[in-house]
Assembly symmetry: C2
Homo-oligomer: 338 residues x 2
Amino acid sequence: MATANVRDVAALAGVSVGTVSNVLNRSKRVSPDTAQRVLDAIEKLGFIRNDAARQLRVGQSRTVGIMVLDVSNPFFTDIARGVEDTLAQFSRSLVLGNSGEDAARELAYLDLFEEQRVAGLLITPVGDVHARLERLRERGSPVVLVDRHENARAFSSVSVDDNRGGYLAASHLLDLGRRNIAFVGGPKRVLQVAQRAGGAQDAVAERGARPLHVLELDSMRADAGRLGAEQLLELPAHERPDAVFAANDLIALGVLRALTHAGLRVPDDIAIIGYDDIYFAANAAIPISSIRQPSWEMGRTATELLMAEIEEPTKHDYRHVVFQPELIVRESTAGALA
Amino acid sequence: MATANVRDVAALAGVSVGTVSNVLNRSKRVSPDTAQRVLDAIEKLGFIRNDAARQLRVGQSRTVGIMVLDVSNPFFTDIARGVEDTLAQFSRSLVLGNSGEDAARELAYLDLFEEQRVAGLLITPVGDVHARLERLRERGSPVVLVDRHENARAFSSVSVDDNRGGYLAASHLLDLGRRNIAFVGGPKRVLQVAQRAGGAQDAVAERGARPLHVLELDSMRADAGRLGAEQLLELPAHERPDAVFAANDLIALGVLRALTHAGLRVPDDIAIIGYDDIYFAANAAIPISSIRQPSWEMGRTATELLMAEIEEPTKHDYRHVVFQPELIVRESTAGALA
DNA sequence: CGGCGGGCCTGAATCGATTCAGGTCGTCGC
DNA sequence: GCGACGACCTGAATCGATTCAGGCCCGCCG
């Protein structure tokens, strides 16, 4: 038996379809009495609104798309949780796309999102999709960039001051008396990596410490970090760093593993600081100091910017929220704490 | 300017709307010549199919819903990746719901999914939603249970043999000569926990070792594991276990942290084995042995079962795929490996 | 040469919620 | 008593892709 529709509800409640719709969407316009009759009918028939029909008429869906780089990176899932928690308040749902840093896949998802006329899109872009995003917006789906501050101010965005984060990390190590810092990072073309390194360079230069020993890895995962650390351990004793600043926590975990394996003491022999402050850095065998990015808040703020644009589509002032990173000190730099 | 629709395309290509639709959906029925004209028109107008209209007509969306317990648990994101990778082949998208183990939130998402007439649903249920799931199926959205083998065979499901996993873990520790094993687990009401403990009990009994020392925690996260381990360390020396079997890897990480902090050697003083084989267990300071659950494959298989049911809705044989867990040996039990 | 089949195309009807111009009735102010 | 107004309700028109009964034309068979 086909699912009940507004017409069935209207018939049972003895009102017109228009009234049913008013109960559903603008309950103020309907007398309490009638409204109750309609609600009873809905209940009795097990009526569930057909979102497709609503969407067709209204011209837009009530779902928001989110495209992330990597669902298995806790940094992004934390953002996603922020998005999801915020969206729940608007009772909108989330269509998830995982580009996996693959531009082709990103495009495929953009097609899907466009067919679905998503109400809005949160994206950390991979490929050159600027034009596509503009088209999406022209067609009524606002876009907010996450963890990317587009040079142009064409879209609202949320991001974190990575330069400052790098500066904080290096300064902390310097404050602890370390003088020979290695930066173990991902590919330089990743803007974040370059900026974190840059901030660290600044701190080192400012203090007149030894210039940063920069190691470029080809990925930002733990195994790359482990290999990087092994390289460092092969250096002659007088060049061996006394502290490692890892471009993210996954790398830091790999570094910790290699050092532990080599029998070195952390932080006594070599201190480690990471970036992102993921759960697994805080809960490592030796909890790892890190630069915290407020990922949940980023998700929430991005969602709020998006919702504002969705609900007030004509306002053309794109906002750029830049979060400040925060130093979190743990045993991997400060030794056993109280 | 409003987005182009099939009528515009038809006009430009000099054909009827029916033909445009045929090009889009059944290209075989159209002469290559006409098809090309239509495709050109689509290109020229930047036409993008309106999914809502299609959905309204066809009665079902092309989107699949997935409801997970916790997006920040790598076990679930690995499953989600399997789902997503598989779905991409069918060019369908994924609506994500995160119940956070909260039954109310789960219900809210079920409402949304139902309004959207999702093509199907993958779910690890929290509350008692059996009736809701049946209704969803009656209305044309098949359901597959993930990591839950419903007593009834009312839905297809994928799950893992947790009893066997527990057995494998304990056997491994016994093989290494450990005789006093502690099980550090989550709440007993979680079926998985009970079964893993049960399997371990069996192994211990079979070998005549000391009965399992069972510690029940109120969560399954790392901090609970740490507290649990601290409790174990307070035991008198002759009762202190020589091996810990943690109900999942998060707990194992917490245990590792507490033991490391107390200056104990792993595995020499106490061996540790976890469960799930998440990335962060493999990459811990001392890589943790674990019972691997094939999460990506579970996601894929669940999706395949679901797609089969979507495409062949009348076949009423619900399948239950039970995966076998696998022992992964690392340093936390076997010591430094080659 | 008539009839039949198949390939290709047409276009009105359809899905179901929302919208909005318009109708009805009761109340209030003067 | 009358016009104005507001509160409440009605129902046809609408959104855009899909479907399907039916039309046209060509080639082939008997």
